[in-house]
Structures are given as C-alpha cells and as structure tokens.
C-alpha cells in the first residue's frame, strides 16, 4: 500500500506536471450535467456551442495539438520499391512473411491481434495460424509514422538529441547507411531494417535458411544476405537503381531497402483528415457537439499530457500500469516479463515504461496496449481512473481477444505498480472517462484510412504472394 506521504508527494508532482502543461481542471466541469453539456449529434459550429469550442481550442493550444506536416514526397520509383519490399516475403528467412503481413492495410495497418504470429505461420490477422512463434509486443499501426524520431515500443531505434542514430546494431549501422537514412526517411527507414533481423518476426531459426543460420547480433551479415537475395532478382536490381539514380546496386546496402520501405509507409499512411484534425485545422463544424464534449473531457482528464502534440503522442515512455501477457522479452525467471524502455535506456526509472502510442485512427488499431492487453478501448481508458485497482482486477477473458494468450499473464503487478509514472499514479476522475470521450475517439478516425486495400500490390518481384498470404 502506498504510504500517505508518498501519495501526497505524487499528487503534488502530478499537479505540478499538469499545472505546467495543462489547463487546471475546472471544478464546475465535474458538476455539469453530461446531458446539459451534450449537444447530441449536431455539429458544433452551428448550435451555439461557441463557448465550448473556444474552450477546446484553448486546450488544443495548451497541449500543442496541430496538424502534422506531410512527409517528403518520394519519387514514384522509390515509392514503388518500398511498396514491393514491404509486401515481399523475400525479406524473411523462410520466405513466408513480409513486413506488411503484420501491418496490413486492410487491418488498419496492423494485424488486429494482441500479439503477432511471426514466421512459420500463415494467414492474416486473427485468421493467422500455424507454428509461428508469438512476437512479444503488439504490432504498432503505421499511421503518420514519419512524425516519430523514435521507433518501436521501447524506442530501440531512434535519433537522439544530438541527431545520432541509436539502434541495436550499434556501429554495424555504418556511416554510409546512416547517410542514406539522413537523406531519406530517417528513423522510419532505420526501423524497417530490424524486423528482418528478428528470428521470431521474420528471420527464422537455425537450419531453416541462410538467414536463420547467421548468429544473432550479426546485423551486417544478415543485411548483406538480404541484399544478396534481392540482387538475385533482376527486377529488384532495376527498381533499386531507379529509386536511387546514379548508384549501382552493388554499391547499395540494406539501408537503401529500409529507406524505401520507410518512404512507402510515410507516404501511404499519412492521414490527417479526421474530424478532430479538421477541427484543429480551423473547421469549427468538423466535430459534433458530443465529440467536442468528449475532446474537452479528454484534455480535462490529462490525456493530452501523453497524447498531445501533432502525433497525439509525446513520444516519451511511461509506466501506465498495464498487465503483461505473452512471451515477454526474456525478462524474469521464466523470461516472460517485459521491462520496457529500460532495456534501451538503461535507466531503472524506465522500468515497465513504453512509448505513448499515437491516437490518430485509434479505433482502427485495436487491440491496444504494448501487448494488446485491451480488447476494448473504453476499458483501456477507464484503466486510468484507478490504475492499481484496474490492474489487479484486469480480466484476460474479458479483454484478450486471442484465447491462446488468456492464461499468459505474468505476475509482475507489484513491481509494475511500484514504478508507476507519477503523471498517471494519481488517477483520473471517473466522470471524465465519459460516453462523449468514447465518441471523441471516433472523431480521431480519418474516413480515408478505413479502406486501404488499394495499397496491397497484386504481385511482388520475387513472385511470392504479397504479404506472404
């Protein structure tokens, strides 16, 4: 049990944090009848909602929410190369899974699973099955990904404050590779170089392929082997040299591939047309009054502290007290714990902290959480009311949509609770996790993002099934 002194000190910290970044909670907001505030389905601008609109605009300013600028437009050749590589199973050791298998356009740019099934399995989304190993973390969606300089749930690929690449490959990411990425799509391109090195995700095991036979941590060998595979396919050689004019394929490295994948992802998955972002852009009528009330609740609850800014994410790492399920990342005696950002930062203050996900198109990207622990978005939002109670009473049979994972919760609850991020430890007033907030989450969806099947190519140069499906 938290000591009273600690409770108050944490409350003070929380108050200081919010005072520095947000509009203090208005006492009257708790008193207002939801019905009185609710404007039904009417659009906000035309129904005398000016006071509420003004308030929301203040909050938007307060939390730095603005429209994310588009990514640099790639050349058609670079885009085509990236699209082909993203869907081509040739990049996996067993030639059975592509990058986009778990970030599929028809599934909201992820896989709709709590945890992905890696190489060895077949199928798509929840229909995917077979002997593939479970990947330890939820497959993130790809929306607006160029807005991040740090990739993965633990930011293990990132560009640091000094503008340097930090990756698991350390110096194996050569200056030549870095230059390709600096000139191109930065951390997003670098990110695409690493799922291919994971045995679970794409590379496979010893004895399964020439990629699987390479020892772990030998990134250079893996990337060279992949370039050798691609070089055996004349169409790819042509595509690479078209995408990077003036450079022979023999002089290229896997950063050229990763950068192309990044270009495709950035260009294809840039969506800023949600009602909320239209509102942010200045259209008072873009959201209904109910959505506006939900947005106000969202910011009143402090959600914007971690889910503000252009990405609706602060790109920082927080321990929000969520349960741990699945295989874990080799933490703890059974290797099923996942210590989070500390594995990258080295700081014990980052234990069980994960990067705040972007909430753009959030309704399309479930299940939610770093291990897909929440199958219901409202339950996830309500988790913040009383985190200790929510964590201790979390029901996998209610929330985990993959039955195979329902008995995999790792008992790290006390340790997780002991390191909660101060900004969430104090909880959120229950009335702010409102019906209107749920409606507001719908206003974060860009209608154009709901059907992205056009991004799936009919074929890929290897002749393998696109996406491995």
């Amino acid at each position: 049990m938290m000591q009273r002194r600690n409770f108050w000190s944490m409350s003070v910290v929380f108050a200081l944090v919010t005072a520095g970044c947000t509009v203090p909670l208005e006492p009257d907001s708790a008193e207002l009848s939801v019905q009185a505030r609710r404007g039904g389905g009417h659009h906000g601008g035309g129904h005398g909602n000016h006071g509420r609109i003004a308030r929301l605009r203040d909050q938007i300013d307060q939390f730095g929410v603005e429209v994310l600028p588009p990514p640099p437009t790639p050349s058609p050749e670079l885009y085509a190369l990236g699209q082909a590589l993203a869907f081509d199973p040739i990049l996996s050791g067993n030639r059975d899974i592509a990058c986009l298998t778990c970030h599929h356009p028809t599934l909201g740019s992820d896989d709709n699973r709590p945890l992905p099934l890696g190489t060895g399995a077949s199928g798509l989304g929840m229909d995917r099955s077979g002997p593939g190993l479970i990947v330890p973390r939820n497959a993130p969606e790809l929306f607006n990904r160029h807005g991040f300089d740090n990739m993965f749930w633990d930011s293990r690929v990132r560009i640091d404050e000094q503008g340097r690449f930090v990756t698991p490959a350390a110096s194996q990411l050569t200056p030549e590779m870095e230059q390709v990425l600096y000139d191109g799509y930065g951390a997003l391109g670098a990110q695409a170089m690493f799922p291919v090195t994971s045995r679970t995700e794409m590379r496979g095991q010893l004895g399964q392929s020439e990629l699987g036979d390479i020892p772990d941590m030998q990134f250079t060998l893996i990337w060279n082997a992949l370039m050798a595979r691609l070089g055996d396919i004349p169409e790819y050689v042509t595509m690479f040299e078209a995408a990077y004019p003036g450079t022979d394929f023999e002089d290229m490295n896997f950063a050229h591939a990763g950068n192309a994948i990044g270009a495709f992802e950035a260009q294809s998955f840039y969506f800023m047309g949600s009602p909320f972002m239209q509102f942010v852009a200045g259209d008072d009528s873009a959201m209904t009054a109910e959505q506006i009330e939900g947005a106000i609740d969202y910011f009143d609850a402090g959600c914007g502290n971690c889910h503000g800014g252009p990405m609706l994410s602060d790109a920082r790492h927080h321990n929000t007290g969520v349960p741990q399920i699945g295989t874990g990342t080799r933490g703890g005696p059974t290797n099923n714990d996942d210590f989070g950002f500390v594995l990258t930062s080295g700081s014990p203050r980052d234990r069980y902290a994960f990067r705040s996900p972007s909430l753009h198109n959030v309704e399309l990207t479930g299940p939610w959480g770093h291990a897909g622990q929440f199958g219901d978005l409202r339950t996830y939002a309500e988790h913040y009311i009383d985190i200790e109670d929510a964590l201790r009473t979390w029901d996998p049979y209610d929330q985990v949509i993959d039955p195979a994972l329902r008995n995999t919760q790792y008992d790290n609850i006390d340790e997780v609770l002991s390191t909660l991020s101060p900004g969430v430890a104090g909880g959120v007033p229950a009335h702010l996790i409102s019906d209107e907030m749920m409606v507001f989450f719908g206003a974060l969806t860009d209608p154009a993002a709901e059907d992205l099947s056009a991004f799936v190519p009919a074929t890929v140069p290897s002749g393998l099934p696109p996406g491995g499906i």
Binding site: A170, S171, R330, G331, P333, D337, F339, G346, S347
Partner: protein
C-alpha cells in the same frame, strides 16, 4: 531550479525550530525507513565539476587487439593476456583540503592528466559550486597513472595530507602546508615499488599517535592472466609505519599481514588479489585492525575443483602493530570476490559490522563460472560482540559492485548502504549495476532500491565512490568516478540470470567482440569502444525532513598530556545514542580509507529520525572513551580527544583532575573555547558518575 537554491532551502528547513518541534510532536516511535533519491549535479556546467578519466598507457594494447581482430580474428585465449582495466582505476576522496569548513572532492586521473581537486566554494562564497584546483594544488600527480587515494594528517600538523597510488609505479605522498597546497615528498618510503597499488588506508597501528599506512595491491595489469589463471602469484599487501620524521618504514614482513589463513593448497608465500583494504578497530579494543578484501575472480572454488583463494581477511592487532589473520576464527570464512568495504553498527547491538561489495549474482552466467547463489552477494556481516561475525541469509540478488558507502541516507536513525560498479572485461563489459541503495529496516535487514540515483549508471563503470555532506544540508551525498563510459549506441543485453527481482531489469552486459562472421572460430571487435570515465555528484534530495548529528574527531597527541590519538581523528569509533524510548544507538568509525580506491568524508553522520537529541561517545585509539551529552539535532560536533576515559577505575578526584587538565590544555591550544570547556567538563563528569 537552481541546485544551490534548492539545497539552501533544504538546508534551512531541517534546522528550523519548527522542524525540531514537529519531530518532537511526532513522538518517540522509531522513524520508518524512506526512499532515497538524488539529483546529479556534475553535468551542470555552473557547478565547475569537469572530469574525464585519461586511460592507462596499456589502452594501446586493448586498441591493438580490437583493430587487429578485424584483420585476424582473435582466439579466445588471447583475451586472457589482454591488458586489465586499461581505462584506469579512478578513486575518490572527500576531504577539507584547505581547512575552510566545507568538503572538497579529490578524484584521481590517468597519466598526463592532473588529478582533480574540486574545491568547494560553499563557505567562501555561500554558493554550492566548485573550482578545480587540482592542477595547481601540488597534489596533481599529473605524470602518475593514479589508482586509489587516501588522506590523513600524517605529520599531525592539523591539515590533511594525501597519498596517491600508482598503477605499476610508485605511490606519491603529498604533504599539505596548511593552506591547501601540497608538496610531493619523493622519498617518503611509501613509494612501494611497481606494484599495481589499489587502495590504501591510514591509521595508527602501534599507538604512537602517528598515522601508519596499509596499501592493498593486486597484480601486474599488463595482462589478465593472474586474475584468471594463477591463483596465488599476485602482489602482496604493504604495511608502513610512520617514523615521525616524514618517512615510513615497510614492516609488511614482520607485522604478520602476509600470513593469510584459510587459503586452500596455497604455498607459504601465497599472495592474493586485493581490491579493498581498510584500517578499523573492528573488535573495539582500542587499536587498529585491518580488513583486506580479496578477489576469487573466475577461479572455481574448492567445491568446484579449484582453489579457495579469496576472503575478507580480518587481521587483528595485538596493540603493538602485530597482526594475526583471524578470517576463519572470526566466523568469516566464505569465499567471495570482495571489491569494497565499509562499516557501521547496522543492528544497534553495540558491535561493529561491515558491509562488503562483491561480484554479485548476475555475471556468473555470461562468464561461464561455477556459481552458487549468495556466495558472491554484496552483503553485511554482523559483529557478535565476541570478535566473531555472522552472516544472515541472502534473500535478494545483488549487482556487481566496487565502491560502497555505509551511511544513514534517509536520516531515519540507522545505517543504510549503497554500492556502484561495472567492469571492462575487454571481450565484454559488465553493466548490471544501475546504482543500488540498500535501505536498513532498523534491525540490519536491507532491502534493495534502484532508480533513486539520477545519473544513468548502466552506461558507466563506477570504480571509486565516496560519501559526505557536500552541500551541508544534513544529508549524505555520493560522489562516484567511473573508468569508462559506454558509447551512446552500445546495446545493453539482459543477463541470462533472472531471479524475479527488480535488479533483473537492469542486469545488463555489452559484448565488445563477437564471433567471427567468417566462421574462423575466432572473435572480432564489434566496433564498440569505451569512452573516458566520468564523475557524478549525486546530491541527496533530503525530503525526509529528518535531522542529523554530525561528528568529526580531533586527536590530541602532542597537544595534551594524555592525548594519544592522531590529530585527524582517523580510527575513532563514534557512537550516538538518541534520547527517548526505543532509542537505538548508532555507531560509525572514522576510517582513513575504505570503499574501493576511495575515502569518505571524515565525519560520523547520524540521522535522528523523529528524535531531537542524544549522546555522543568516542572510543579513541588507546581505548579511552569520552562522552558528550545533550547534543541537539542539527549540531555539527568537532569532538576533541580528552585523554581520560570515563570508565576508568581512578577515583572521581583523580579522574576530574585529568579531565580538567586535558580540557585546559585544549583551551590553551585554541582547540576549544570556554563554553566548550564547560560543556565537555560537565559531560565527562556525568559520564563518570553514571556509567
């Protein structure tokens, strides 16, 4: 927020009458242990704390191996002959070098770089800032590849002198002229030849009032072979007796310290690898004993077919400067890899206990060495009052550790501990210590806390560590120095050893060589080159509100008729007994070098928890005891040796005659004033009458 302002606020609050009154109102119940957290200030340029460890010359050998492996992969055996610790072994000392009343910080450096002496400006300017006067101090030892450091008033002239230890070269004695400027004494007798001198400690071993010196040595660090292969061919400990004329005589052979007990199958002249050494009156009989912590390294224990070569040897002094190793007889016979040591009475039973830094529990797997949980745990040993020590069952895993400090970090009335560490093994770097605080529950049971330190220690490799109250806010701060820093992009791999403990999450190691991609079976460098080590200054955030009493000791040898203790007070055992129900006495020695490569501030620090006053007692060399009653929360006492013991069998008249004579001489010498004369006289009288 400006750190200075922050600390001044903290410092002013805890001394206020209202704070004391609040503590009184809180009642007599013992204070609960509290979390400890720090703010690292050395990265703030305004603090004036710039330090970068210059590597040893042997780093060229390490670089040669790294780059050569890219041409011709290295067989595994080559790593055994790689240079050891080529980034150096920085030590830390916290001392008042200029006698101005605030604590300064001395950190050793490698060849070509002057040792740093960060002079605290708190008293001079009122601002908590530092100026590095190392290069011009005369104690710069720029040409020396300096390992450990210790200090003490070796000539009893009222200031602190400094001894710096050389890596494969001579030690250097730097004598203070009283103003904070030092002169190197080239022929002091402490040079010690070309051993890899590690740590030193000062104390009076023969009762003549002069500080003697013990130096712990390791092995020729040009290769790692002695650590890995040769069990007993290392460099012996050296003991020096102060001649009183500025020179020292090597009495190692005649003193008994080379005769070690309990070594398995060891030849008569066996020498061990010593990482930590300390002089302390461990059996509280009024003379200085020596604890020597040795390293088992990867050599298997006897039970695994190897040799038991490493213990915390406990050399008991017979009072004349002759020692007998009582490692087995004292109940202290388990093999380990001791790296650092410090002292206090953890369980308030009136006996001195010790806390030993050790190899930890996370690295046996990557090093593929036989291992049994707890054998290499960092842990405390408890004095039993009859000269023996007892361990308690180890219930938590611990991290690899070098520098350690025992201190009441939360001022709750018991001594906690902290330890840091990391190790460059050439092939890999051990990085499993994130900075650990061990909180005492008041009965000597410790619980691990991580995350309280501000700096990122997974990327550092802390060696030296010293404690002291640098900003004078009544809470203990910690200074560390690392020999190397992991580059920003170095991967951290999780140890295979996982126990379901909070330390699991930071049990890292970093490979620096990897199997040859060409399949030769050799190893090639992965491009990760360690960067120079850095310092940290972690200022205790002092949010418990608990006050403290701080006690330094000043010996009176040469000042009073019966004074026997060295002027700097090293070796004094200080006890503080709070006033009130359930008031547990605390004990802390003032040691002249302990931890690893380092020496703490020469002040005994006692947190009061909810208490507001108590009694200070000092046990001096020679065995006499002095007491001072009614010491109030927040007081800083410089306790002068009064050469009369309240537990004497003399008559009251004779005893008080002694007391008044001694106090009169102290007053005449300007050591104390009239008010202190009366205060000590009254206390000494009460002590005699009530003991």
């Amino acid at each position: 927020m400006d750190k200075c302002a922050l600390n001044q606020v903290a410092g002013s609050v805890w001394r206020t009458p209202s704070a004391v009154a609040l503590a009184w109102l809180l009642g007599a119940a013992p204070a609960a242990a509290q979390s400890v957290n720090f703010t690292e200030v050395s990265q703030d340029p305004a603090m004036g704390l710039s330090y970068s460890r210059a590597p040893s010359y042997s780093v060229a050998g390490t670089y040669g191996l790294q780059e050569g492996s890219l041409i011709s992969p290295l067989p595994f055996e080559v790593f055994a002959v790689a240079p050891h610790r080529s980034q150096g072994l920085p030590g830390v000392a916290i001392l008042d070098h200029d006698g101005d009343g605030d604590a300064d910080v001395y950190i050793t450096n490698g060849p070509g770089a002057p040792n740093s002496l960060f002079s605290n400006q708190l008293v001079e300017t009122g601002e908590f800032r530092f100026v590095d006067v190392g290069a011009t101090s005369g104690a710069d030892a720029t040409a020396q590849d300096t390992n450990g450091v210790c200090f003490g008033d070796i000539d009893n002239d009222g200031d602190e002198d400094i001894l710096t230890l050389g890596r494969g070269e001579a030690n250097r004695l730097h004598v203070n002229d009283g103003t904070g400027h030092f002169t190197h004494i080239p022929m002091s007798g402490l040079e010690g030849g070309t051993y890899s001198h590690i740590g030193c400690s000062m104390g009076d071993i023969d009762g003549d009032g002069l500080l003697d010196v013990v130096v712990g040595n390791s092995f020729d660090m040009s290769t790692q072979l002695p650590l890995i292969v040769f069990p007993y061919s290392n460099e012996p400990t050296q003991l020096y007796v102060n001649q009183g004329d500025g020179t020292f005589a090597d009495v190692s052979a005649s003193s008994g310290i080379l005769v070690m007990d309990a070594l398995t199958d060891a030849p008569p002249d066996a020498t061990t690898i010593t990482w930590t050494i300390a002089m302390v009156d461990v059996d509280l009989d009024g003379d200085m004993d020596i604890l020597q912590g040795d390293d088992q390294g990867p050599v298997p224990e006897t039970t695994h077919g190897g040799w038991d070569r490493a213990y915390m040897h406990v050399f008991i002094n017979d009072g004349t400067g002759h020692f007998v190793d009582e490692v087995v007889n004292l109940g202290r016979d388990s093999v380990a890899s001791w790296m650092g040591v410090d002292f206090a009475d953890f369980d308030h039973d009136g006996n001195l206990d010790w806390f030993g830094a050790n190899f930890g529990d996370y690295n046996a797997a990557p090093l593929n060495t036989p291992y049994e949980f707890h054998h290499f745990a960092t842990r405390a040993h408890f004095g039993n009052g009859d000269g023996t020590f007892t361990e308690r069952p180890v219930v938590e895993p611990t991290s690899f550790s070098w520098g350690t400090a025992v201190a009441d970090l939360d001022n709750d009335g018991d001594h906690d501990a902290t330890y840091h560490g990391g190790l460059d093994m050439v092939m890999m770097k051990l990085a499993d210590n994130p900075g650990v605080v061990m909180i005492n529950d008041g009965d000597g049971n410790f619980s691990t806390e991580i995350g309280g330190y501000d700096a990122n220690y997974s990327h550092r490799s802390v060696q030296g560590l010293a404690s002291g109250d640098l900003n004078q806010d009544g809470f203990i701060d910690i200074v560390t120095a690392s020999d190397n820093t992991l580059p920003y992009n170095a991967p951290l791999l999780l140890s295979q050893a996982q126990y379901g403990h909070k330390l699991d999450s930071t049990a890292f190691w970093t490979p620096m060589f990897m199997p040859d991609p060409g399949g030769s079976g050799g190893f090639v460098w992965n491009g990760i080159r360690l960067e120079p080590g850095q310092m940290t200054m972690e200022i205790n955030n002092a949010d418990s509100g608990n006050p403290a009493v701080r006690v330094s000791a000043t010996g009176s040898v040469g000042v009073t008729t019966h004074g026997r203790h060295n002027r700097g007070g090293l070796g004094a055992i200080v006890t503080f007994e709070p006033l009130g129900h359930h008031a547990d006495p605390m004990m802390q020695p003032i040691t002249g070098g302990s931890s690893f490569l380092s020496q703490h501030e020469s002040v005994a620090h006692f947190g009061l928890g909810n208490r507001h006053s108590g009694t200070v007692e000092v046990l001096w060399n020679g065995g006499h005891r002095n007491r001072l009653y009614n010491v109030q929360a927040g007081e800083v006492i410089d306790f002068p040796e009064i050469g009369c013991s309240y537990d004497t069998t003399d008559t009251f008249t004779v005893y008080m005659g002694c007391v008044e004579g001694e106090l009169g001489q102290l007053r005449s010498a300007g050591v104390i004033g009239w008010s202190q004369y009366h205060r000590y006289r009254t206390s000494m009288m009460v002590a005699y009458l009530t003991h």
